[in-house]
């Protein structure tokens, strides 16, 4: 569980992620857990699938962690992302950031999730009763 940058088809473990990043020299640890919503614009989502271009996704996730460390005063960054079929309510992503100052930890954690959603080659497909869509594909 000490893998800081990780893509897995198994259920994510936010608690283990939090435990993996904890340093006495740090004043603050900020984490973000993104769960999969049960509806989109009022339509019930039955299940989801994440498809990842895994080799590149891991590279981009590592770049985000490295940039967060360089840009903010951050000691450690963990980013775990789910792949494959995911049930409603399960975790899609877990990010944990440890920093000597809490402002930096908050900013870095928000930077990580914002950038992940823009650059990491992972695609979400939502399954509805009457069909399925690739999220954000069309303008």
């Amino acid at each position: 569980m000490k893998t800081l940058i990780h893509i897995t088809s198994e259920k994510l473990d936010p608690q283990a992620c939090l435990a993996a990043v904890s340093y006495p020299e740090c004043g603050g640890i900020v984490s973000f857990v993104g769960t999969v919503r049960n509806q989109t614009k009022g339509k019930p989502v039955l299940k989801l699938e994440f498809e990842a271009y895994e080799k590149m996704a891991l590279k981009e996730m590592q770049k985000i962690a490295d940039r967060a460390k360089a840009k903010f005063q951050v000691e450690e960054v963990l980013i775990h992302h789910r792949a494959g079929l995911v049930k409603v309510g399960e975790e899609a992503v877990v990010i944990v950031v440890a920093a000597p100052h809490r402002k930096a930890a908050f900013h870095a954690c928000e930077y990580c999730i914002d950038t992940l959603k823009e650059t990491v080659p992972i695609w979400k497909k939502e399954f509805f009763e009457d069909g399925e869509i690739w999220v954000s594909a069309h303008p």
Binding site: A57, I113, L116, T119, V120, W134, A137
Partner: protein, 80 residues
């Protein structure tokens, strides 16, 4: 030269498969490859964006593709 393009997400649906082989001129750029794909599959025009990655990195439009490059179509991402 032959360029093999790998697809993910909705790009796979548009190609109706997870890869396509294009016959391109030497010195073709990423922009040229994108144009060739849009000509063959007009549905790509409907996407919010269509980036190409070469060897698992984002590249600029003027990047010149080499024969053994791993070229991947990146439709709008939606992780997180």
């Amino acid at each position: 030269m032959k360029i093999e393009v790998i697809a993910f997400g909705i790009a796979k649906d548009i190609l109706n498969g997870n890869q396509v082989t294009l016959e391109m001129d030497e010195q073709s750029s990423v922009a040229d490859v994108r144009q060739a794909l849009v000509d063959l599959y007009p549905a790509f025009q409907g996407l919010a964006s269509l980036q190409l990655a070469v060897n698992a990195d984002y590249v600029n439009d003027d990047y010149l593709i080499k024969e053994n490059d791993e070229v991947v179509l990146i439709p709008p991402v939606s992780g997180g």
